[in-house]
């Protein structure tokens, strides 16, 4: 599986480099290479995840190694949707490097013995919970990136500097729409993700809430994005401030995803 994942990493790296090059020199041919490399990487990645599932006998989203790899895979999918829907190629220059890094780190971590898996990971609800949450994080990453792009482009327009960024980023309203839609999708996924987690926990332990750091972070994240969406959807256009919220919100997402590991609690696996 490792060699297949190495090939995946190679494809993502090619895609990342070409996305950045395409961002710099705006060549369609370079962009095409980036897109095809992404597709190739994604297909291999899907195969690798599928093979993992079959060989290890459990859903390939449990340990940190698996979570990173799965998150990378989810991000590719989300990025593809954004690219298809908005033709915003600039997104690739920001997303593909991160996807490569995630894949790289998941390769760095040696796979642990499979028998160490707690039995509960085999229940049906558990993978649904983790998958929903991972996709929510991927969507929030898109919110974060679109927010950064918004702030950059807004700055260019206000200060009238017209640097390279001005020519390469999509129009303000497009970026704003990407951020808003991604936030709605992310929040919906997170809501269902938290709900399935609570339901699962209720079934198993008879309680929904463990006061675990990850749960608290997740709740904060949920509240923040809820606020962000309400804030955005009120009658007024809030471009800039909403964009700042999108940036700050992502810090919470990172906290939920990684920070909680260091604070202990029952949500720490692998």
């Amino acid at each position: 599986m490792r060699s297949l994942l190495l090939a995946v990493l190679a494809a993502y790296l090619i895609a990342a480099i070409h996305s950045i090059l395409a961002f710099i020199n705006k060549r369609r041919s370079v962009q095409r290479v980036a897109e095809w490399a992404t597709v190739a990487g994604f297909i291999m990645h899907t195969a690798a995840l599928g093979a993992d599932w079959v060989i290890d006998g459990h859903y390939p989203l449990f340990s940190l190694r698996e979570a990173l790899s799965f998150l990378a895979w989810a991000l590719v999918l989300v990025y593809a949707v954004v690219l298809y829907r908005y033709r915003a190629q600039a997104v690739g220059a920001f997303t593909m490097p991160l996807i490569s890094i995630l894949t790289f780190f998941s390769l760095l971590i040696a796979p642990g013995p499979t028998d160490a898996l707690p039995s509960f990971s085999a229940t049906r609800l558990f993978p649904i919970h983790t998958t929903l949450v991972i996709f929510a994080y991927a969507a929030f990453f898109i919110v974060f990136m679109a927010s950064v792009m918004y702030l950059l482009q807004e700055r260019e327009l206000k200060l009238k500097t017209f640097s390279a960024i001005f020519y390469r980023l999509p129009p303000l309203t497009t970026i704003n729409e990407i951020a808003t839609n991604a936030a709605v999708v992310g929040l919906t996924l997170l809501t269902f993700g938290i709900a399935t987690g609570m339901f699962w926990s209720w079934n198993r332990y008879g309680r929904m809430w463990h006061n675990d750091p990850k749960e608290i972070f997740a709740l904060l994240t949920w509240l923040l994005y809820l606020f962000l969406i309400i804030y955005r959807s009120t009658a007024s256009w809030r471009g800039r401030r909403a964009a700042w919220l999108g940036v700050v919100g992502f810090a919470l997402v990172l906290g939920t995803l990684f920070g909680a590991r260091y604070l202990g609690g029952y949500h720490v696996f692998g």
Partner: protein, 422 residues
């Protein structure tokens, strides 16, 4: 075959010279028919625009010099100028240089404003005139088609035409950086100046659906409004119009600010803070610069527009460097294909080969002829060679004519021909 290009352009000749040489389509066709004689000048094409007059022609490699002279004479005569008058203004390019020049012209790399789109259409027109006049033969056909391909490649693969370089188009350009589409946008013109009108026209072409015009004298406003199907708004209702506009173009002759920060804030809150692009092309400025500080208002004055334009020009120039590389590689490709098209070397090789056969036969039969004087020997050899030449000449000529009348991609080389016989 060789290609010659002789002409003048905006860099080498002042307008007084260029206007004397300019050809309209009719003069172009007439001139071409007179110029192309099938001997020295075998094919011809005239590109005549306000910035250039160029004659492109095909001839044989041996007649390159006289051909170029003929073209220069032709231009002198066309401008009713004394012979040789144009020499200091003319440039002459042959073969590779001529091909490169034409590629650069059609790709708009040689234009006054790099990337302007008209020149390709002008080359296309020149070509169709030449085709109608019957002066575009296989070399020019091929060259011009290749030229279209190069121009298309340059346009598609580089951004030399990507960013606007005129003030009136800037509203569209900046609008597109704020709104994903200008479709359905409302444009407000404050003042009914010519530049504002032109900008509005571009915006409407880009999809803007409504144009409002506010002007102190309503008559001038109405005049423009009629042209666009726009709506005139009395000056007192400026604030209301402002609240509806996505793009505002301001160009009045007023000596003071027509639009203040307070007005802009009020308008923005009425339109729920949706982004607004404001362009002030008047001098002195008519929109208070403080308006630019209002959130979601993006204000540009004439200097800002100039600075975008100059950065767009720089961007185009960077792209032009890439375009030159494309042109370079295409020139090499074309030269290669032209070489394959040239029957000349094959015919030469065949003639050599025939003569070789005659000499070999002579050597083989020499011993049966006994003792001969030097003169007799030369006479026999001459007899053989002239016979071979005289027999083969019409055949080879026929062959040349045949190839030149077809659009064959390549000609067989002499080895291909003789291999068949072995």
């Amino acid at each position: 075959m060789s290609i010659i290009l002789v002409g003048v352009n905006h860099k080498t000749a002042p307008v007084e010279i260029r206007e004397r040489l300019a050809f309209n389509d009719e003069a172009c066709a007439d001139g071409l028919r007179r110029l192309v004689d099938g001997e020295v000048v075998r094919e011809g094409l005239i590109v005549s625009t306000c910035n250039r007059v160029e004659i492109l022609s095909a001839t044989t490699a041996e007649q390159l010099e006289s051909g170029a002279g003929r073209l220069a004479q032709f231009l002198d005569a066309a401008g009713q100028l004394p012979a040789g008058f144009l020499n200091s203004y003319l440039y002459r390019h042959t073969d590779e240089e001529a091909v490169r020049h034409l590629f650069r012209v059609a790709s708009s790399l040689d234009s006054m404003v790099v990337g302007e789109p008209q020149v390709l259409g002008q080359v296309r027109r020149a070509y169709s005139v030449a085709v109608e006049a019957g002066t575009a033969g296989r070399v020019l056909n091929r060259l011009v088609h290749h030229t279209f391909r190069v121009a298309k490649r340059v346009r598609n693969e580089t951004g030399i035409a990507a960013n606007a370089v005129s003030i009136s188009y800037m509203a569209v350009e900046l609008g597109k950086k704020i709104f994903d589409s200008l479709k359905g946008c409302t444009v407000l013109l404050i003042g009914a100046g010519e530049m504002a009108e032109l900008s509005a026209r571009h915006l409407v072409n880009a999809g803007a659906s409504r144009v409002l015009i506010v002007n102190r004298t309503e008559e001038a406003a109405r005049q423009i409004a009629d042209e666009f199907g726009a709506v005139t708004v009395p000056f007192e209702r400026l604030d209301q119009a402002l609240a509806e506009a996505d793009v505002v173009i301001c160009s009045t002759g007023a000596p003071t600010y027509v639009l203040t920060e307070a007005q802009a804030r009020q308008a923005l809150s009425r339109k729920r803070n949706r982004p607004t692009c404001m362009i002030d092309i008047s001098v002195p400025r008519n929109i208070d610069p403080a308006v630019g500080k209002v959130p979601n208002v993006f204000l540009f004055d004439i200097d800002d527009l100039e600075s975008v334009i100059s950065s767009n020009i720089r961007e185009r120039e960077r792209e032009a460097e890439r375009a030159e590389l494309i042109v370079q590689s295409e020139v090499m490709q074309f030269q290669q294909s032209l070489r394959l098209m040239d029957i000349g070397p094959t015919i030469g090789a065949m003639r050599e080969n025939f003569q070789e056969v005659a000499r070999a036969e002579m050597a083989r039969q020499r011993k049966h002829l006994g003792v001969l004087t030097k003169e007799q020997e030369t006479a026999i050899e001459a007899l053989l060679l002239t016979t071979v030449n005289k027999i083969s000449h019409p055949i080879l000529n026929q062959m040349r004519r045949f190839y030149e009348s077809t659009e064959a991609e390549t000609v067989p080389d002499e080895q291909d021909i003789f291999k068949l016989e072995e």
